[in-house]
Symmetry: C2
Subunit: 156 residues, 2 copies
């Protein structure tokens, strides 16, 4: 079991590291551009990813989310909706801080903790669907990150 947990967590960290390497290579000006004509901007995608990862903190039972306004700006609203976005520098910092919090919590878990339910599934449903656990959240969010990383790569 530890082996499979390691595989899933390594995949998470690798995808985060690839994203960070790209973000380090992109200037703020490049990040402000749209990934393709008329599509999401890099900065919106960075905010969107940060919002989704921030929400993982309560979803995994770790702590409250830090950016309550991000849900409205970066998940409920599309890009170019007229919402006021934080600065690129603030978004870069929020992205790094959020992933560092997740890593700290990940490292505090024992293998059995990974198979516990996440907070948006009821005890009754979890009894019937035990795959709706913390590990599944991390796996799904890695796939989500990879999807948007593919788009962010177009800014290079």
């Amino acid at each position: 079991m530890e082996l499979v947990i390691k595989i899933i967590l390594d995949n998470w960290y690798n995808t985060i590291n690839q994203t960070n390497k790209l973000l380090d290579a992109l200037t703020d000006e490049q990040l402000m551009k749209d990934v393709a004509p008329g599509r999401n901007s890099g900065v919106y995608l960075l905010g969107h990813l940060t919002a989704v990862h921030d929400l993982m903190l309560p979803l995994l039972g770790f702590e409250e989310r830090a950016h309550h306004d991000f849900l409205e700006i970066f998940i409920k609203s599309p890009d170019k909706s007229g919402q006021q976005m934080p600065s690129v520098a603030d978004l870069r910092a929020a992205w790094t801080a959020t992933n560092a919090k997740l890593e700290k919590h990940f490292k505090s878990l024992q293998p059995a903790d990974w198979l516990m339910k996440h907070t948006s599934v009821s005890v009754e449903d979890f009894a019937k669907e035990p795959h709706r656990n913390r590990l599944n959240v991390v796996l799904g969010r890695t796939t989500h990150l990879s999807n948007h990383l593919g788009q962010l790569l177009l800014l290079k």
Copy 2:
């Protein structure tokens, strides 16, 4: 263990299904376009993904790959290299057939089979790095697919 294997395979099938739904919605003309100006075309990405999945067949110890020419055209060469590509119809069919073969083999495996080494790691290295197993290949390829799916979504 079965639970974690199920999570990883569900993630694979979900990502394949999302890709198929997108491919069904895209016309051949849309697929011929570049995902962003000067970047890979949809048809190249479809060939690239098919080539990578075709290579999973020997990598996972299932069977020989079916498309020996795809490695040169879609992995070793970039898009617009002057290589003759198969038709969009042939690529769509190859994509579907390749994933069907993988699914057939996946369904024949027992849980312990998933933890066996893939064919590009030596017995000696696998003894030291037991995470280099079949399950890890499927996980890595799901992340790879998701990355390019994010780009293909820009064709809609």
